[in-house]
């Protein structure tokens, strides 16, 4: 059993949660994730480890379906049943020169430890953070000390550049030579960033988040075609060279369980009397 230490709403439908765990902080590196199970009935929910401290770790969650709603409804002081981690391979952090890190939506959260580590490794770090609108833009102040430059984009123009993150990336790439790009966000965003990176012959790491079951490489649910090879995201990834990912197939697989998810959510809301945490 692992205690929820704190829970804070940092944007609409987005929660910043610290959990107690005796060991994960000792081993977790940027880019890695964990899987948690809330209780006997729960799914196994994969989440990126955003930060750690002695005996604790931090996750940032967007509520999109039953499992994330249930998780964000757990109150500080209450416990969750299982946490396993760190899983996946750490990001390949090195001193590259100039790098550009791009986060979209809740993807900004998993990008944070990577940006921080890149800065610590001595890179010039350009950040692009994108959201649908101003209220949904998370962690901006936390990023600032770790960035040399920051671009913000919003779909509706309520903050920064109006448009998607690729608009800002275009500007950056015109201005200077970027050695490596990291992009984390919705699959469609990662796809378009990867296409732009490919045109510029720039390595572009993306962190894939396909549906997972075990997260230990024994089911193949998380498979993705990368460079003509089938890879299991949980053990071979989660980061891959986005230029090699077969995106369209992956994006369609993401919605495989849509009917079931909808049913689960509707049932859950009914049970909760239509209201949530």
């Amino acid at each position: 059993m692992y205690k929820v230490i704190s829970r804070e709403a940092i944007a609409p439908d987005t929660f910043d949660i610290w959990l107690e765990h005796p060991n994960i902080h000792k081993r977790a590196k940027p880019g890695q994730f964990l899987i948690l199970r809330l209780d006997e009935f729960s799914e196994r929910i994969p989440l990126t480890i955003v930060s750690t401290a002695e005996g604790r770790l931090r996750v940032i969650i967007k509520t999109i379906g039953k499992s994330t709603y249930k998780l964000c409804a757990v109150k500080p002081g209450e416990t969750i049943a299982d946490i396993v981690g760190p899983l996946g391979n750490p990001s390949e952090i090195d001193r590259f020169g100039t790098v550009c890190v791009i986060g979209g939506g809740v993807g900004i959260a998993p990008l944070f430890p990577i940006a921080k580590a890149l800065k610590e490794a001595g890179n010039r770090v350009i950040g692009i953070l994108g959201a649908a609108k101003k209220e949904l833009l998370i962690m901006k102040d936390e990023f600032l000390p770790h960035l040399d430059e920051l671009y913000i984009t919003t779909d509706d123009g309520s903050e920064g550049i109006k448009g998607t993150v690729t608009v800002a990336l275009q500007k950056v790439l015109k201005k200077e030579k970027v050695e490596v790009i990291w992009a984390i966000g919705p699959m469609v965003m990662m796809k378009f960033v990867s296409l732009m990176a490919a045109e510029n012959n720039t390595l572009c790491w993306v962190s894939l988040n396909p549906i997972m079951v075990d997260g230990t490489g024994m089911c193949g649910a998380c498979r993705a075609e990368v460079g003509e090879e089938v890879k299991f995201t949980c053990v071979h990834g989660p980061e891959f060279d986005g230029r090699k990912v077969k995106w369209d197939e992956l994006i369609k697989r993401q919605y495989q369980y849509r009917e079931e998810e909808k049913r689960a959510m509707e049932d859950y809301l009914k049970e909760m009397g239509g209201k949530n945490a």
């Binding site: 060991n23 994960i24 081993r27 199970r37 009935f41 729960s42 799914e43 196994r44 039953k66 499992s67 249930k70 049943a81 299982d82 946490i83 396993v84 981690g85 760190p86 899983l87 079951v213 075990d214 230990t216 490489g217 024994m218 089911c219 193949g220 649910a221 498979r223 993705a224 075609e225 089938v230 299991f232 053990v235 071979h236 077969k246 369209d248 197939e249 992956l250 369609k252 697989r253 495989q256 369980y257 079931e260 998810e261 049913r263 689960a264 049932d267 859950y268």
Partner: protein, 459 residues
């Protein structure tokens, strides 16, 4: 293979059982068990025992049973087999103990139903005080709580060794909990058996993936010996075009969702599982039968097993195959899928197949299937489950890089002792042999436990 003089076991009616996940085989009543036990000839040379990978004293437990000394019978079983309620249900008896029974070798005769009797005795749940010897002040780490790991843990604990089991999942049992379905092996039985191991003082550390969340080297340093029993965990895919279309799953994913995560009780349990109308399951082993019968229970209208060899080469346990056929599952032998076809949404809609014929025997001794020319045809399916076998989980093993592997990528270990290239480290079960059986994994565990004790006595 109709049974002749073996005492029949009652089963749920096929129509009734495809609507639920209740156990199909209902077990013997006392009268039935005594009747069957009476058939045993108590052979002096005990041919049956040599067919059991853990060498259970079969005539001994049967004798005690028919004299209605149930506790003695249970003690004999537990002495050689920590999981008799499991083995009585899932052992391929027709290839193991019962294959050697003298009664089965006479024309027109049936072997004694050893497995069913074993199950009967185990299911009486007679409490047996496990005799745990005083501590010998040695500690052993066991990696993986499948049949191999559980056996090592129990056998060492009995001898006064302090044992810690590291298990990747939140619960113990390995394939017994995430692979084999409830209707064949109720999970309550597994948890009873695990509890028995726990009561001997074995400590379980769940949610620990050795080589990922705990370094293997740390265990090697901290413990007097280490046993690796991590199973043959990764699914193989056929790798034909279209493998990543929607609604194509590995049997491991499908069964893990249903068994470990209880997706058959969705939405009470949160994990969903897909089910469609026309399901093809590729393969013909136990895993195939389990996946096919699970699909049927979840509501698939048609379930087709597609197998590239012939009925004779099918590796599945006979009883499961019969059960599958009774449940209306169709078998297509000598058929090999070569491509999956999808619609605009990437959902699989059909499978291109070719017909096969059997050629010369291959290395496994089974006749090799070869493709018939111009035999291509299309089968309409809207869901596919591939059950063509498992391989060692290569990536997890990266965390065990100091352990030597064999040419199949499994761990190289001595068959008699489980010794690996590292002096302190032993291995057994599917991670050494490739996918095999529960009782073989337990047999390997038994032998390793003995070798570990010897090793501990020497250091």
């Amino acid at each position: 293979m109709p049974e002749k003089n073996k005492t029949k076991m009652r089963e749920l009616d096929p129509i009734q059982r495809i609507g639920c996940f209740e156990e199909v085989a209902l077990g013997y009543s006392k009268e039935e068990a005594l009747k069957e036990a009476a058939r045993c000839l108590q052979c002096k040379n005990q041919p049956c025992v040599s067919g059991c990978p853990v060498g259970i004293n079969i005539p001994g437990f049967i004798k005690a049973l028919r004299e209605e000394r149930y506790k003695d019978s249970a003690m004999i079983l537990k002495g050689d087999n920590n999981l008799p309620a499991v083995c009585g249900r899932v052992c391929p008896q027709e290839k193991q103990c019962e294959a050697r029974c003298i009664l089965g070798r006479v024309p027109g005769g049936d072997a004694v139903a050893i497995g069913r009797l074993e199950r009967f005795v185990a299911d009486l749940e007679i409490p047996i005080e496990s005799v745990v010897k005083p501590s010998i002040h040695k500690k052993v780490a066991v990696i993986g709580a499948g049949p191999a790991g559980l056996t090592v843990a129990a056998d060492l604990a009995k001898e006064g060794v302090s044992v810690t089991v590291f298990e990747a999942f939140h619960t113990a049992g390995g394939v017994l909990v995430y692979g084999i379905p409830e209707f064949r092996l109720p999970k309550k039985i597994v948890s009873n058996e695990v509890q028995f191991v726990q009561e001997m003082g074995v400590e379980f550390r769940f949610n620990e993936i050795v080589g990922r969340t705990v370094p293997f080297e740390e265990l090697v340093n901290d413990y007097d010996a280490v046993f690796i029993g991590i199973g043959a965990g990764a699914p193989r895919f056929m790798g034909i075009p279209g493998t990543n279309l929607n609604n194509i799953f590995s049997a491991s994913e499908f069964l893990t969702r249903v068994n470990l995560m209880k997706a058959y009780l969705f939405p009470k349990y949160d994990t969903p599982v897909k089910i469609k109308d026309r399901v093809a399951v590729i393969g013909a082993g136990n895993v195939t039968m389990d996946a096919a019968r699970t699909a049927r229970r979840l509501g698939a209208k048609e379930v087709h097993i597609v197998y590239r060899r012939s009925e004779e080469e099918m590796p599945a346990r006979l009883e499961e195959y019969h059960h599958a056929m009774e449940e209306g599952i169709k078998l297509h032998c000598l058929t090999l899928p070569v491509e999956y076809l999808g619609d605009a949404n990437n959902n699989v809609v059909a499978m291109k197949c070719v017909k096969m014929t059997l050629g010369e025997p291959d290395s496994s001794g089974r006749r090799r299937p070869v493709q018939l020319e111009n035999s291509e045809f299309t089968m309409e399916v809207d869901m596919v489950i591939e059950a063509i076998g498992q391989t060692p989980n290569a990536v997890l093993k990266a965390g065990f890089s100091s352990v030597q592997l064999n040419k199949w990528g499994s761990i190289q270990a001595d068959e008699e002792t489980g010794r690996t290239n590292l002096p302190k480290v032993f291995a057994g079960g599917d991670i050494v042999t490739g996918a095999a059986t529960v009782i073989e994994a337990m047999g390997a565990g038994k032998r390793s436990a003995k070798a570990i004790l010897k090793y501990l006595a020497g250091v």
